[in-house]
Amino acid sequence: MKKLLLFLTALLTLFLLPMAAGSASAAEVTALRTAARTDGNPPFVRTVLDLSSSVKAVASLNKSRDTLKVSLKNSTPAGDAAGTYRVNRQNVDTVSLKKDGGDALLTVKLKNPVAMDDIKVFALKANGSLPQRLVVDVPSVSTVKAQSSSGVKGSSSSVPAASASDKKVLKGKVICLDPGHGGSDVGAIGTLNGQSVYEKDITLAISLPLRDMLRNAGAQVIMTRSTDKDVARAYAGDAEELQTRCDVANKADADIFLSIHIDSFSNANVDGTTAYYYPKSGRDLLLAQTLHQSMMVNMAIPDRGVRSNDLYVNVHTAMPSVLMEMGFISNAHRLNMLTSSWGPKRIAESMYQGIIDYFKQID
């Protein structure tokens, strides 16, 4: 298994364009462009190389899976195509093109590892005014699951080490996380490939990595639930179930309460994130704005704003609290992201950053 993995890591794909008959001279890479795309799953950064003629290309990912190299055989960068392009789009840091002996070498540097299966290298034929092109798609988010990264010991090892400043901010903080619904209450229901998807499972998939990140940075995290269960009892009324969740936070005297939900609506085109608060203390709005801002900066989810209303958990908790709706289960594109290996973790990361930002502002 290890041997196979090494082999796959070293050589992602061997790629061949039909050689033009009688073409012995080196192909030229005449231009390089990048574009961030959110219409794929996962979202990706596309690099397009314009070519003067067909080339043979070999792509490889290094062992730590954060540097992709694509070697274009018997090619050379022409004009001003060579150089380093700063992308800095989420996980993708830079793209560079240089001469490498008789070949041209494209290097994509990533901030976090990606899976080989999520990288695509393919050719596009000359079309009208467009020349022959080589296309390289690299995920703009980390797509490597915890269990497949090297040296894994225990489930929390996927959590990156917390910075000293994060630890300072979160020291002594008590945070209550409330994964919405659970047990007999499945929450909103989506459909993916003919199968039902429950809101309760997605809210937990976001909350657990968020819990680990916060604990790793020294915060005390109280969970209303950390498995698929009712918090009060099965088939309890909504008020009883929700009050039991508020009681967990109130008894722990938590500094903040964050309820994590996935939205749903009859119009499947609708998508977006909403931060709900109830203005019971001076800081509910601040917490909502800070978490909302972090979602807007870190995620490509449409904005439905920060809204005040009287959702039960926001009214009945004794501390600043927010109920975050993290996109719509009724929207096919969002459901793909919410059920992917990377989506819930990315949301957790943005919530983590938002919580840090909140405590920085009030301390």
């Binding site: 919405g180 619904h181 229901i189 909504d238 939900h261 939205d263 009859s266 609708v270 959702l311 039960y312």
Partner: protein, 181 residues
């Protein structure tokens, strides 16, 4: 209103003109309509305002319809609300939902919904809209200050899992998108 009517008459003219040589007929019809409208005493007319979700699911929008004075009842308003929602492109309310009874006492309207309401599968967006639809429609009636929901005669203790649905709900103007002039 007069302008709209004139425009409508003009449109009718344009449409009927190619197949009809008598250009004086449409204006004549228009006069007949106006006369008929004027013949109805104003006090016998009433407007019924219901609140329906917008297509984005962000707010509810007022929908005004003309009814006779005796049709302006809370039960009819809620009946129309359900019919109008079901006729929308993206209906929010479950198929077959009816209002079994409605009772107003001391400013509180108690709305008894049929069992179909339990099929409402919603996030907080849908649940908030459901409340805004019924409560804002009901509180259009001056004698209604707040609303309680029942399901088949019992308190509606379970719905979307975001609110205490057994509480009395007051009108929430912030959920209403006002009509543009």
């Amino acid at each position: 209103m007069k302008k709209a009517l004139l425009l409508a008459a003009g449109l009718l003219l344009a449409v009927t003109l190619p197949g009809c040589g008598d250009v004086s007929r449409p204006p004549a019809e228009k006069q007949t309509v106006s006369a008929a409208e004027e013949a109805v005493p104003a006090q016998h007319e009433a407007t019924l305002v219901t609140y329906l979700p917008d297509e984005e699911g962000l707010r509810v929008e007022p929908h005004t319809m003309k009814v006779t004075a005796k049709e302006k009842t809370l039960k009819n308003a809620l009946f129309q609300l359900i019919q109008l929602d079901r006729a929308q492109t993206y209906p929010l309310l479950p198929t077959g939902l009816t209002v079994k009874s409605v009772d107003v006492k001391d400013g509180t309207a108690v709305i008894d919904l049929s069992k179909e309401i339990r099929k409402l599968s919603v996030g907080s967006t849908g649940e908030t809209l459901f409340v805004a639809m019924f409560v804002n429609t009901a509180t259009e009636f001056p004698n209604v200050k707040e609303v309680r929901f029942l399901c088949e005669g019992q308190p509606l203790s379970k719905l979307g899992g975001h609110y205490d649905m057994t509480q009395a709900f007051k009108r929430d103007e912030s959920m209403i998108r006002m009509e543009k002039k």
